[in-house]
Amino acid sequence: MATVGASLGASLPPVGSALAQGAPAAAKGPKLLEMEGKAKLAVLGDKPLVAETQAELLDDNVTPTNKLFIRNNGQVPDVTGDPKAWKVKIDGEVNTPLEITVGDLMSKFPAVTYQLMLECGGNGRSFFSPDARGNQWTNGGAGCPMWTGVRLADVLKSAGLKSSAVYIGSYGADPTLAGDTDKPSISRGVPIAKAMEEHSLIAFKLNGQDMPLIHGAPVRLVIPGWPASVSTKWLNRIWVRDKEHDGPGMGGFSYRVPKTPIVPGSKGNEKDMAILESMPVRSVITFPADGSKLTSRKLDLRGHAWAGDFDIKTVDISTDYGVTWKPAKVDAPANKYAWQNFSASIELPTTGYYEVWAKATDSKGVTQPFQAANWNPQGYGANPINRIRVLVES
C-alpha cells in the first residue's frame, strides 16, 4: 500500500452520487454527522436522522459500531430503566402467546454471534435516473458488523407456531414523526421460512457491546440479506400472522419493485408491484477512496461484495470502461450472510485519469448492471457497477 498515496478528495462531490450517469458534480461534499459514538458519516436527512457510510469508511472487514449507517423511520424512543426488564410480546398464530423480558430471552435461549449484513432497502437509490423518491443513498446504507442475540426461531418455537402461521409482523417502540404512539412508524415482516432461518436473530449486542440506542436498544431484529426495514429496532412485538403482514411499509410502492418494467419517471401501478425480498448483488471498492491521487501506476485495491441471500462467486475489475475485465481475489464469507472481501493488484498502463469499475456476480450467475435498472417510484434495487476515479501522477 506504500505505493499508493491516497489523498481523500475533500473537494469531491459525495462519493457515488456524482458517478451516476449524467449527474452534475455537486459544489460541496455532504454534511457530516456530529454525534457521540458515531463517525463522521454522510447525513442524508436530519429529521428523521438518516446517515450513510462513505465507501472509504466501509473498509474494515467487520464494520465498527461508529461506522454503521443510521436509518430511522420515526422518532428515537425513550429507552430508560433496566434493559433486562424490556418486554417483547409474541402473539397471533401461536399456541402460547408470550410476553418475555430481555432478561429471560438471554437466560432461556442460547446466544449466537454472527457477522451479518444489514442493508437499507433503498441502498443505491441515487443511481436511478431520473430521481426516485426518498433518501438518496449511494452504496453506504450497508454494513457488516458482529451481532449477538438469540435465534428468532428458538423464541417462535417456544411459543409454538400454529399450522396457520405464514408470516411475521414486527413492531418497535419508535413513535411516528408526527409523534403518534398509537400507530407504528413502520411495521414490516417476513415469511415464516425466513424468520426461522438460523441467522435471523433477536439481537442485544452489536460488536460485543450492549446495543446502542440509535441502533435499536435494548433488542432488535436482525434478518440479514433482506431490506433492513424488516430488522425492527426497539423490538417490542412479533405478531405471527395467518397472511402476508399488512403493517405500514408493507403496501403500495414501499419496499416493492415492479413486476412489469415501467417507464422511468412514471407514476407506476401499485397493483403490479412485488415485495423486495433478497437484496441485489453489489460490490463496493473501499480502498482507494474515490478521487485519490496515485503516485504509482500500481493500483492495489480492495472492497466488499454481497448479494442478499446468496454468495458472491466472482468480482471483476475494469480500468477501461468495461472493455476488458480482470478477476479480483474473492475471500469466503466469515459465515453465511457476511459480506465477502475482494482485492486486486492492477498495473495501470499509463499515468493519467482512470475510472476503476467493480462488478460482482452472485452464486446464481446474476451480475450488476451498467446502469441502475428496473426504475420504480420509491427507488429500490439500484445496484449498478461500482466506480471510483483515480488520477495517476508521474
Binding site: D78, G81, R133, A178
Partner: protein, 144 residues
Amino acid sequence: MSQINIIHAAVIGLTATFLLLAFDRAGELRKDQYVYVPPAPKVAAAAVDPDKGKPPPHNDKVEDLPEGKNRELTFYTCTACHGVALIKAQGLTRELWDSTLDLMVEKHRMPPIKAEERVEILDYLAEQFPPRRKGRGADNPFLK
C-alpha cells in the same frame, strides 16, 4: 457641661447597646448565619437522561428552502414531521410530487391538506424541485 455630656454619653451608649442587643435577638444582625439542616435522605439514583444516545436536536428554518411562491406554506406543512433535507433530496415531476403527498397522508399520517393548499404546495415543489438528472431516463420518449 462636661458632667451633662458624660450622662448624655452614658444614655446614648446604653441606648445603643440595648438596640444592638434587640436587633441581634431579632436576627437583624445575623442574617447570614448558617442554619443547621439535617442531611437529606439519599435519593435513589439520578434521573436517567432519556435523550442520551439520541441524535442531536434539529430544527430547520424557512430559509433552508429556496425562495419561491408558497415557500412558507410548503415549509410549515412538511416540516411538521420531517426535515427539509428530505424534500431537497430529490427532483420529481409534478405527478410524482402529487403521489408523494398521497404517500405522506396515507402512510405517514399527515393531516389531509385543503385542495387549494395542495395545489399551492405542488406548484412550489414542482417549480423548485423538478427532475434534475438529465440522463437517458429523464427525457424518456414515453413520458408526456
